[in-house]
């Protein structure tokens, strides 16, 4: 059973554009939704996270939008830069427990 579904699998965005990655989850008990960024040869690094009591969280150019009723959440990267090119994973969990990752989105930001 795939607990977290992520789309698209890959994404190409021009510099300055908006990158949008979507995730949907199955378990309504999940209460922690982080996004991880992974560069080649590195481990996943926490980018931003949200709890279900808020619908949006913004940190710099990165925003999570959360729709509890639809069981969906998304990552928006504003003013995308070539340095943002990486693989992005959404995840969901019960707070403090094992992370259930999506399959990842490979983002390429072209100059």
């Amino acid at each position: 059973q795939q607990q977290v579904k992520q789309s698209p699998q890959s994404l190409i965005v021009q510099k300055g554009g908006i990158s949008i990655i979507n995730c949907a989850y199955e378990n309504t008990a999940f209460d922690y939704f982080p996004w991880y960024q992974q560069f080649p040869g590195k481990g996943p690094a926490l980018l931003i996270a949200i709890r279900p009591d808020v619908s949006e969280k913004k940190e710099g150019r990165f925003t999570i939008s959360f729709n509890k009723s639809a069981k969906q959440f998304s990552l928006h990267i504003m003013d995308s830069q070539p340095g943002d090119s990486a693989t992005y994973f959404c995840a969901a969990s019960l707070l403090g427990y094992a992370l259930n990752f999506g399959k990842g989105t490979s983002l390429l930001v072209t100059p």
């Binding site: 481990g43 996943p44 996270a49 994973f89 403090g96 094992a98 990752f101």
Partner: protein
């Protein structure tokens, strides 16, 4: 900035051999995790460890796997008899006490190649 350190970065082994993957979590962290990522697939949870015992494990973590915290700084994953399908990137993660428990910091991983 403190980081999770994993050694070796790449381990090559023959099928049926035992391997031990090593991790040094961030020093004040109390919760430790192993995940794996088969090439091109998602990161999968294997096991979590707290207070010198397994707190949670996935279906992947069968009797071939074991974890240990042999001293105050290291956290190890042992695979007793490796199979071809164990080839993957293995990530160690750790998280802090209290409210920091939910923020898991990942190491750079050990690439395990089973031949």
């Amino acid at each position: 900035e403190p980081e999770v350190t994993q050694t070796p970065s790449h381990q090559v082994t023959q099928m049926g051999q035992e391997v031990i993957l090593r991790c040094v979590p961030i020093s004040n962290h109390l919760y430790f995790y192993w995940y794996r990522q088969i090439l091109g697939q998602k990161v999968e949870f294997l096991v979590s460890f707290y207070n010198n015992e397994i707190s949670e494990k996935s279906e992947i973590f069968d009797d071939q796997f074991s974890v240990e915290r042999p001293d105050g700084s290291n956290f190890t994953l042992k695979i007793r008899s490796t199979k071809l399908e164990d080839s993957a990137m293995y990530f160690c993660a750790s998280s802090g006490p209290g409210i920091a428990k939910n923020i898991q910091y990942f190491g750079a991983g050990t690439r395990l190649s089973v031949l």
